[in-house]
Amino acid sequence: MDLQRPIHELTAAYRRGETTPGAATEAYLARIEKLDGRIGAYITVTAEEARAAAAAADRRYRDGTPLGPLDGVPLSIKDVFCTRGVRTTCGSRILEQFVPPYDATLVTRLAAAGAVMLGKGNLDEFAMGSSTEHSAFHVTRNPWDPSRVPGGSSGGPAAAVAGGLAAGGFGTDTGGSIRQPAAFCGVVGLKPTYGRISRYGLVAFASSLDHPGPFGRDVTDAALLLGAAAGHDPRDATSIDAPVPDYTADLPRGVRGLRLGVPDEYFIAGMDPEVERAVRAAIEVLKGLGAGVERVSLPATPYALATYYVIAPAEASSNLARYDGVRYGLRAEGGGDLIEMYEATRAQGFGAEVKRRIMLGTYALSSGYYEAYYGQAQKVRTKIAADFSAAFAEFDFVVTPTSPSVAFGLGEKTDDPLAMYLNDFFTVPMSLAGIPAISIPAGLAEPEGGGPRLPVGFQIAAPAFAEQKLLDAAYALEQGIGFDATPSGAPYVPMDGIKRTGSGGEGDG
């Protein structure tokens, strides 16, 4: 069975009776069993629940009453969404044994759409990181080159989709945690507008920045997944009460006559020249499709990373105060008074990166520093959003690279937090502004120092709630590039029955 085809092709095969959700689910579970020891895309595999959901979908297809475009579709869900009766760890020791009593709204909506959850995807602890190396349990390897990271923090779902260990997935993007792993893994990742998908049941990292969103093998899949997940939720006061269109309705509309701004500030010194080449080539593709492309300036961009690394840790330090060893999660043994119990529990339960962020955020919010750090960062955030508003007065979209580099090597940046943070340079501005942005594969690049060629991500950002237009443009670019998102050279992949791309879908080839 072809496990690396898009969702819309898989469900077409269901409808034609060529295969069934049950058979597809078994095939994915078998592949996970065979390969995930080496990829590490999952923290928990929910085989039993998946089989039950698939059997129900089988019956619906047999009766000619499938629920919609995700019925019977096997997905990886980042282990930061609560799942009733299935442990939800957030990649942390402190929640290693936590079994939520309820489902996140996203999980409820996907179940109602007939989707099959294969398991809970790996992530950097509490979604803090850009490589998935900060998971307390294991690293996730990039299916294009297992010596490299899949990006993060949603590295598990991204690697699962790229490696044929799920048909699609959901992650969260706080500063780039969907878009950057999508770029590194050669799949499509979408961060919708803030509030477009409910955060109810999403374990909080930075509440004003946390955006759930989909991973798909192509833009059509991302549109289908978004459509099922989006919508108002009375349980999340920040979710937006706006109608959810059929995001696939106008995909073939094209980009002719649309205006694209290319921000000068996103072509920085230190960017991998191969990344720049692939991104420039994709811009030429868009021009060839009839889009108007011009330079634009987003002058506050150089301050976005610093702004993010004040606001996100500040919110995290507050959100993570709830892990106190009293109501749920780990409690450190060893006696002592209540305060000592808190301190020991949090020391044992949190990893180094989470501690760093808690410390940074606590410092930024502490007496005497609040205005200089947090207050100032909130004001710079306003300027970053204003840059985008000004750009969107002239342009339909802003287009940029997703990440300054291709996937880096495991261990390369774990000892240098700031170098790790710099990965987010191109993705945090859209997070701070709350606007939708998508990463799609622009082609393959030669990594410095050799090895298999690796995907490059191309980012398109749009005004708030313009997801439909954004997906239409991404679809046009995807068709223009013709990228085939299948790892071609990964040495571990036994390609039984799986489509291979000979030379890989090169962006400009």
């Binding site: 610093a306 105060a321 009293v326 109501r327 000592e340 501690k355 943070y421």
Partner: protein
Amino acid sequence: MISREEVEHVARLARLALTAEELERMRAQLNAILVHIDALRAVDTEGVEPTSHAVPVVNVMREDEPRACFPRDAMLANAPDRSGEFFRVPRIIED
């Protein structure tokens, strides 16, 4: 630059027990990050309103209707320690 004493103070505020080695590493790493963050001070934000949420939503109201809540046992099921219907914690009040 953040001092070792400040790191200890912040760790206490954050309820994190750090070893001597962790404190020193944290100090060095926080300083490296703060040097980057200090660039924010140079931004002119005179008259700029702060943003707490990118998409402003204020005063979300709903009807005040009674509804079912989670059963007590479900809420206690994840407790590291409990006593009957209560979460049990180390003694807070001395005899």
